[in-house]
Assembly symmetry: C6
Homo-oligomer: 275 residues x 6
């Protein structure tokens, strides 16, 4: 019945644009040249899969801290490829599946991909797909082995496949000997400088109607950044874009947006320090 | 059949007021500004879920020592939200379920929530839901992974979800890498000062008919507090509100309420010291 | 079929007096004020459950060395309550049950209790119920978690429940984090002084027809005690009432009761020393 | 079908003399007063079970090195009791049973015993019944727990039960906390002196037709003992009766019985030294 | 149904040339005398199996670093044998199989081989076939034991079998005591010198139409090698042929092939250094 | 169906000569008095089982390094017995069986043996039968326990049984406490001296048509031995007969037999040194 469930929710073939769009809910703010670099590297691999006859399979790992934007970037690269078959394998779509069901669902997605000429499979959040928990440690070896084999299995003649995987637990994957499996690895960083944060606040237009980029808006933003700098005593933000956007929304519930945002960001920055 | 059992006991949709009320059996005594603070923070998150389009999911963890009032406060925040769908996921409602049954029941509750526009799910006593025991240690990884994924899974378009979870084992959750999963954490403290205890005794009206707040009542209460202080040699109570209310009831069985209550409280305070 | 077996042997509702009586096969010899104290404390909790509206659930743990009389005392407190529903959950009644069957049987007993206004459930020998063995260590986490939740689960409105549990492995329960679960703990000691032993020998009327309490009887008893004292070199007996009563019976098979009893008791006392 | 197998082979009720006789294949050679002592102690417990109303259940553990004669002695005590119901629970009768089947077979034997007034159950080779292996270590906790409970479970009113268990792994049982379960423990020693060995050789009449006890026979036996003494350099034999009887038989295949027996015994004695 | 799947995809008997050809997708570039040596040794064992009556079974292990060409060489030896029955046992053909299904599929392949006079079975990637992961460590003992027995099992009278196995985890196989199982072991090295790399670039004709081997082509190749040498500071390449061929293809997507290839190779060489 | 498979392949009763003959494929070369000694000791135990009424069961363990000839010698002893029932329990005949199937197949063989008066059961390669792997370590305790019990279980009245077991992992069996189970142990050595090797080469008639034992043949053999001695720097061969015979066959594929054989033997001798 989980197979039925699977079939109901998503078309067996083709691209489920809506599902992938959900991964990029808040767009891609290009707050740093790194972000452009990641998208460029992604498009290079896309090109290689499309063009080179000798490399019908290319697999890429996007790794980085929680909330750095890994899933959003993988989904963006996938959508940019404009390949006719793009599928997402994610823990959210397999809630309640047992080990065998997960293995079957993952296999099915890859088998579907083998039937189309040009394919992208996004394998999101590997550590969660394999039910990783550091106590023990425990994980599903059946799912892990399935992924390890499928991520190296050559597609049949005439088929091409780009695999985009994401993880926050690169060192765990290393211990599992799964890193070698990837043809390339791309690091996704946290937001790290005050300038980057300024760019994000402006882009998100925190005061609305473009006011953020007006003279007074810029002043207020600078004031936010300098207060934050003072409170945290550091210019190294080290917070993921996802958390920053969440803090923005929480602060918006407060009449005094500026103070509240500084408070929330300070907490986030300090949590980072405690790591 | 556990699904049937489930359906019999609780309405599939909507709010089961009675079940939630049981969690607040003895009301909320506002013995400290902290208590008001917790309820205020809860209402802020409620507001964010209702208003912000960019954060359809907010998850909050209430953590603290045994009997501090975590469940009662979570239930109160949930009821205060007046959202049309409020559900409680608790170990008590899953006695005798095996791992698969628990996973199914939890998934079902979340799936139900995805069908209503504004929802609260209270996930009570996470360490018990995952069958945690420190020897081994052992726990149900299947239930844990299900919770980890569901607590981050975005509701479908147009649906909003507030998750309120409770635990006494925050450090265990940290070891399980599940703390990151929450957007916010709220600590629930023990009753800690003699003044707080005095407030509780008065509010509970231990001598009945408002006598506690009369001149002689206040005198007796002061005498209780000072004897307790003498016996324990500390002004730091460090006992949960739940245990204090239980001690009150046990002492009421004794004709000499005052001495018995002091004895029971001394024992509770000393047990704390031994931790 | 184990459910059938269950139903055959015991009435689903009410009190199975015979089963509980078996636990007190040799009566309660009040060889020390502690014994009275334990029964008094038990009756206080019984009273609280009957009277207090705010504490519909009280759970008490009787702990102590093997054979100290824990089960007999728990059964006695239960019978003294005169509550209409009294049930015993014991390893002996679940021989051959697998984990799921045990969980089901335990749940059923509690569910039955929730249907009657005033209830006692005796949970005998927790470490055996959870299949504890120190090698590993191993135990049934499913049974343990079921007990942990059921021992804190509030009965439905208008129902009251007193839980009396016994264990010889208090430190194991502590490691399992299950001690917090109890509202109160009562220690059951070994027989420890020669006077207590004298009281027991007299009460058991070892020479029959009341002769033990006659002049010559008392002399013989004193002689037994002083020989034992000499042989063991200690006045600290440290043997459970159960073993003492067994030694009495074994000695009775020997024409020379006195020497044989001293020999058996010496061995028992020395075994204790070796711990 | 294992239950069928069970039923075919042995009568459900009563005594299976043949099976028990197999355990004493080579009789009981009373080579030392210890052997008489063991049988006497066994008969005392038999008497207690028959006579004392307060001890309907007595359990005794026979422990000692491999091949010391534990099973033969337990079977002899059981047969001497002349109780109407005597049953043997042994690993040999449960070859190929899985855990559940073993638990069921053991429970059945005890349940059968509860239907007869006077019963003996021999529980042979506990470490093998529980599938003990020191690597891990591993064992069947289900079988172990079943035995632990059944060996303490009071028979129903009017029924009496003597349990005779055997083991070579007393220290393992101690680690398993199962030693406390027994009311008494009896050690079964190895054959240890040259005199005891002489007694055995004579009793076994190694030269046939009573010649062993003739003048020349005694001379040859003395010569064997003194050669053995010389070769091993010790008067401490430390070999089980079972191995000695096996060596006798192997030596008989050799025309030169004496030398061959000395050789085999030397090896056995030295193996002991190597422990 | 996995058996069906099996049957559909490959003919039960005979040689599946296409599947084996996929393993040698990019041919065998004889960049070093080692490569010829390996093929020669392979053909010697092929000859022995064909000719010697006393050795109907010969098993050979090809081991070496990831991407060294183990699978391609094993497939080539197998195809060169021109035996009528050649089969590949690989993890890719058993994705999603559970332990029992794997054991069955492996057994079936060997059983098929026992029906034909001259056979090769390629057992590719043993560590993956047994689901090896270093955390734990964990692996399928059932699959391992099946392989261990089948790799030593004599074929029936008149049947001959050559087994060619591959692994990157020779030390793991040693810990598993499976190395002894092989009659011979062949190491497959990485590409290690600049000369070897030059040979490969020329053979792969990186500039197309034979230009690579022209005067200017050779110049550009030398320039690539010397830049690489400069950037890595070593003449020891230490990269597998597979990775080198992949880097070639990636570089071809870049207008500036030379720089891009040097960059990719530098990274590969340095990754090696970090091991 | 595995039972069917079993029945098809071998007759349920009697001797499967062919299967046993496969174990002695290359005969028994009596290269050392040890070999004769082993066969003699085997025939002594055969005699004891046939003659002695008091020892209906004798079990013997043949242990030694891999390829020493353990299985061939056990099969030879079994065949020499000329008992009407001779069966082989081997890992090769149970490929793909799960734990329960193995236990059943082993039990069946022994049960068949109990129906015939004189029986031999060869239990080949115990460590493989129990799925032993040193990582973990892991093994099938169910199969192990079955073997432990069956190897000591007395056959029914009038039945006799000789058990011949083999292993390369004697120290593992010791850790498993299974060594005590055997009545006798026989060590099977490697080929160790140059003289023994000379004997084997002559016996195998490496130059064919008896030429090996001619003047020139003996000279060439001596030359081989002295070259080997020179290359390895030792007179201690330490290689199993099985490997030596394999090396002979491989060398025969080479026109220059002598050099190739020396090379292969050197490698084998050195591998030994590396242990
Ligand atoms: N430059 C950016 N890169 C990535 N995401 C961005 C960027 N700018 C804005 N976003 C938004 O930030 C969010 C990033 O969340 P995302 O789930 O991709 O992070 P993640 O690293 O996958 O988190 P997790 O560790 O929880 O899996 C998305 O909502 C995305 O639309
Ligand atoms: N200020 C307060 N905060 C919370 N609970 C209160 C307060 N005042 C009174 N109570 C009462 O105290 C009890 C608190 O018990 P609750 O079960 O919520 O504690 P808990 O921390 O969840 O305990 P546990 O650790 O056992 O889960 C409830 O009966 C509640 O009605
Ligand atoms: N004062 C007493 N307290 C308890 N039991 C007593 C007392 N006097 C006599 N007895 C008798 O002693 C026996 C005590 O055995 P009981 O099984 O209750 O001990 P236990 O501590 O539960 O043992 P175990 O550790 O084996 O569970 C009973 O037969 C009881 O009738
Ligand atoms: N005094 C004796 N005590 C016990 N057994 C004796 C004695 N004299 C002779 N025997 C014989 O010695 C053998 C003892 O073997 P038994 O199987 O009882 O030993 P065990 O200690 O149970 O061995 P294991 O450790 O293998 O279980 C039996 O055949 C028995 O008939
Ligand atoms: N000399 C060579 N030896 C082996 N393969 C070569 C050689 N020259 C070119 N190739 C090509 O290189 C590739 C080698 O990949 P192959 O899968 O055999 O490596 P592998 O060592 O099995 O890798 P893995 O460790 O991932 O299993 C094949 O595509 C093959 O055609
Ligand atoms: N003296 C001998 N002893 C044993 N085997 C011999 C002897 N001479 C020749 N052989 C041959 O040597 C081979 C020995 O192989 P066998 O399988 O018996 O060894 P093994 O010790 O059982 O190996 P393994 O450790 O792999 O189980 C057989 O083919 C046998 O015919
Ligand atoms: Mg993500
Ligand atoms: Mg709570
Ligand atoms: Mg008890
Ligand atoms: Mg025995
Ligand atoms: Mg490969
Ligand atoms: Mg062998």
């Amino acid at each position: 019945d989980f197979m039925n469930a699977l079939d109901e929710v998503r078309p067996a073939f083709g691209v489920n644009e809506e599902e992938l769009a959900t991964c990029v809910q808040n767009g891609i703010i290009k707050y740093s040249p790194y972000i452009n670099g990641i998208l460029a590297e992604g498009s290079l691999f896309t090109k290689q899969v499309r063009n080179s006859e000798h490399t019908p399979l290319v697999s890429v790992l996007l790794h980085g801290p929680p909330g750095a934007g890994k899933t959003a970037l993988a989904a963006t690269i996938a959508l940019n490829s404009e390949f006719p078959f793009i599928k997402l394998i994610s823990p959210e779509s397999m809630v309640g599946y047992n080990e065998a069901a997960k293995v079957a669902a993952i296999s099915k997605t890859f088998n579907d991909a083998y039937k189309s000429p040009l394919n992208v499979v996004v394998v999101d959040n590997i550590e969660r797909l394999v039910d990783w928990v550091p106590i023990g440690p425990r994980f599903s070896n059946a799912v892990l082995q399935t992924l390890m084999v499928l991520m190296r299995k050559q597609p049949p003649k005439g088929r091409r496949l780009l695999i985009l995987a994401t993880t926050t637990e690169r060192s765990v994957l290393q211990q599992m000997d799964i890193l070698d499996t990837f043809d390339a690895q791309i690091g996704v960083p946290n937001v790290s400088t005050l300038q980057e944060l300024e760019y994000i606040l402006t882009e998100a237009d925190i005061y609305g109607d473009g006011q953020t980029n007006s003279e007074p808006g810029r002043g207020k933003v600078h004031s936010i950044l300098s207060t934050l700098n003072g409170q945290t005593g550091t210019t190294d933000i080290g917070v993921g874009i996802k958390k920053i956007l969440l803090n923005l929304e929480t602060a918006k519930q407060d009449p005094d947006f500026d103070s509240r945002f500084v408070e929330l960001m300070s907490r986030s920055v300090n949590d980072r320090v405690m790591l």
